[in-house]
């Protein structure tokens, strides 16, 4: 094994890239869960986003339009979940699982003609001045734009939840939907919007995989990323700041195991590939989760 072949600067730089899809999906789910809805369909929305983004960007030639298409695709799928859980009052756990199974089938069907095609390239930004700083420049300031879009979304969500009136309403709905309803807030409408935002973010995360990280379409390519995003929301105690930490931690494990594989570590590849999943499990065990939103996963039915 040759550990010296691992370049720490490149390692940290690819960490930011590896963390982005999970971060995007997780920040969307965080908003959904803060509004009191548990959507276990992140994996299904991610893979649908991946295929939608890929198809749109291949046919238009523009990755940017691809990302928009992915967000719309994810939001449409999520609104299915929203209608079922909010208006038809179905069990959120079961519906979320159904969404994942449905999304996997849908994406396989949609992506059939797109296997083996390469996505249009999505060049990295070399941010002037900042990108030229030694060490920090290559790590932080020489990535593709979506890395920064992801960070901006996390920042925006943090500010939205902490400082805005709408964020306060969203949190109220999530903490106690009966009280929020009594105050005259539209519980279902708030939740539908949150669910669709979550779907759009998951779609972006999926498209990041199929357009930037891989960049190809293969069936089942998310490989549990959506579930890891769900785990990171729990790890983050439903706080955007800690979510960032969780996503980078996870990105670090992924990148490290890939680098160890490349460096010819004595452990078989299959065992190294288990690392992200095992790390997620260990993190779930060690980190005591904070308090979950009070109404998380409960069905809201305004009885009269």
């Amino acid at each position: 094994m040759d550990l010296s072949s691992i370049n720490p600067i490149l390692l940290l730089a690819s960490l930011m890239v590896a963390a982005t899809p999970i971060m995007l999906a997780a920040i969307g789910e965080l908003v959904v869960e803060r509004s009191g809805v548990l959507n276990l369909g992140v994996e299904g929305m991610m893979i649908t986003g991946a295929v939608c983004g890929f198809i749109v960007s291949v046919s238009t030639g523009s990755p940017w339009i691809g990302f928009i298409g992915a967000a719309i695709g994810g939001a449409i799928l999520a609104s299915l979940f929203g209608v079922l859980t909010q208006y038809l009052l179905s069990n959120q756990v079961a519906t979320g699982l159904a969404l994942t199974l449905f999304g996997l089938g849908l994406s396989a069907l949609m992506g059939q003609g797109y296997i083996g095609i390469k996505a249009p390239s999505f060049p990295d930004w070399h941010i002037p001045l900042l990108g030229d700083i030694p060490v920090i420049g290559p790590i932080v300031f020489q990535h593709d734009p979506m890395v920064y879009v992801g960070l901006l979304i996390v920042l925006a969500v943090w500010a939205f939840l902490k400082f805005s009136r709408a964020g306060l309403i969203l949190r109220a709905v999530g903490e106690n939907h009966d009280a929020a309803h009594a105050l005259g807030y539209k519980v279902k409408r708030v939740r539908m919007l949150a669910i669709m935002f979550g779907g759009a973010c998951a779609g972006l995360g999926g498209a990041y995989l199929s357009l930037v990280r891989v960049p190809q379409w293969t069936e089942g390519m998310t490989a549990g990323a959506g579930w890891i995003a769900l785990a990171i929301v729990v790890f983050a105690s439903w706080k955007p700041g800690r979510l960032l930490l969780g996503a980078y931690l996870f990105g670090g494990v992924t990148v490290l195991q890939l680098n160890l594989q490349a460096a010819g570590m004595a452990i078989p590849v299959e065992y190294l590939s288990m690392a992200p999943y095992l790390a997620t499990t260990v993190v779930l065990v060690i980190m005591r989760a904070g308090r979950a939103p009070g109404s998380l996963g409960r069905i809201f039915h305004a009885s009269r």
């Binding site: 276990l40 089938g105 849908l106 396989a108 299959e270 039915h301």
Partner: protein, 360 residues
């Protein structure tokens, strides 16, 4: 305006009618989907739901119904206990893989010895393997309050990697010219899970599935454990006051579902699949979730739902080869079925009222 009014008790009639309604809706929307794909909807629906049972080649497909239905029913029965009690083991796919690996490993270790005890030993190893794999999320939930949904799912991916490692390394056939995959267990008489009656599709896994259905029915309707499971699902607080030990209940539910999933894996690997290979698992562990819900978490319902889901698998394969239907379409159809079921389920628990309801 349409209003929903909660029923004091779930409607008995709708409980039975909603799965049928969901199947009909799925056929309708599925037909529209097939039409959009450029296939004749009526022919496609007939190919999937009717031909495996009644066409001229049905003698070939009917046994397949048992072969494909058995693992689904076996896993779904196990899951139904947990789902009733609010224990969400959704990693049955992983437990299925580990059961298959453990059972096959016992058989392969004893190769080429012949003994009547080998197959029973493999069965026990398979069940234990699945059970232990399910105990990981179970114990973590009880000891550390970790979410069992996420942990059991993470372990599916770990199990898949382990399976790849086993098929390429530890359990690889030493006489296999370096090809991945283990020795073929179905050609090793002591370890093979062959058809009990030739041409019927009836193997030990099918027998086990039927036993599991009967066992689950008795457990749920006559045994104190079944009562505790139902009580914990309906009213957790009441269950705690009446002396149900929640930790023990979680562990038992996980053990039952893991054990049965492991059994299903072993029967599959020793019979229809024949060997440990990288992709011998075909997602029965996930489809079983649909089966469990479609069967209303009731043993008899699960039996029927398992048959229906097996039908879509077989019909889907026929439609793929005969009509060129894409493979993903069947998976989509199965997901759609669960969606419609959850959607129409509102009729079971709520009464639909039209017009302005009076203020109480």
């Amino acid at each position: 305006m349409i209003m929903l009014e909660k029923r004091p008790q779930p409607s008995q009639g709708w409980t039975l009618a909603t799965p049928i309604l969901a199947v009909l809706l799925t056929m309708l929307v599925g037909g529209a989907l097939f039409a959009a794909l450029g296939k004749d909807p009526l022919v496609t629906i007939r190919t999937i739901f009717y031909d495996p049972l009644f066409s001229e080649f049905a003698w070939y497909y009917r046994p397949q119904l048992l072969v494909k239905g058995a693992p689904l029913v076996l896993i779904a029965i196990g899951l139904s206990f947990g789902f009733r009690a609010g224990v969400w083991n959704i990693g049955a796919e992983g437990q299925y893989i580990i059961g298959a690996i453990c059972g096959a490993a016992v058989g392969l270790a004893l190769y080429p010895m012949e003994s009547v005890f080998i197959f029973p030993a493999m069965v026990i190893a398979g069940a234990l393997g699945g059970m232990l794999w399910a105990m990981i999320p179970g114990i973590l939930r009880v000891k550390f309050g970790t979410n069992e949904i996420l942990v059991s799912l993470m372990l599916v991916y770990v199990a898949e990697q382990l399976l790849a490692s086993m098929a390429l390394g530890t359990l690889r056939n030493p006489e296999g010219m370096g090809f991945p995959g283990s020795r073929n267990l179905s050609q090793y008489p002591s370890a093979a899970n062959l058809e009990l009656i030739s041409g019927s599709g009836m193997h030990w896994g099918v027998v086990a599935a039927f036993i599991a259905v009967i066992f689950a029915y008795i457990m749920l309707s006559r045994h104190i454990f079944g009562f505790q499971v139902r009580l914990s699902g309906l009213a957790p607080r009441a269950a705690a006051f009446s002396g149900v030990n929640p930790g023990r209940l979680i562990l038992l539910c996980m053990a039952i579902s893991g054990g049965l999933a492991g059994l299903a894996g072993l029967f599959e690997v020793a019979g229809p699949a024949g060997q440990i290979s990288i992709d011998f698992n075909v997602g029965y562990g996930f489809t079983a979730i649909i089966v469990a819900f479609l069967g209303r978490l009731h043993p008899v319902g699960i039996l029927l739902a398992g048959g229906l889901m097996a039908l879509t698998y077989i019909g889907g394969e026929i439609a793929q080869s005969k009509l060129g239907l894409p493979g993903g379409a069947i998976q989509l159809l199965q997901g759609m079925l669960l969606f419609f079921l959850l959607a129409v389920d509102v009729l079971t628990h709520y009464r639909v009222r039209f017009g302005q309801g009076e203020v109480a």
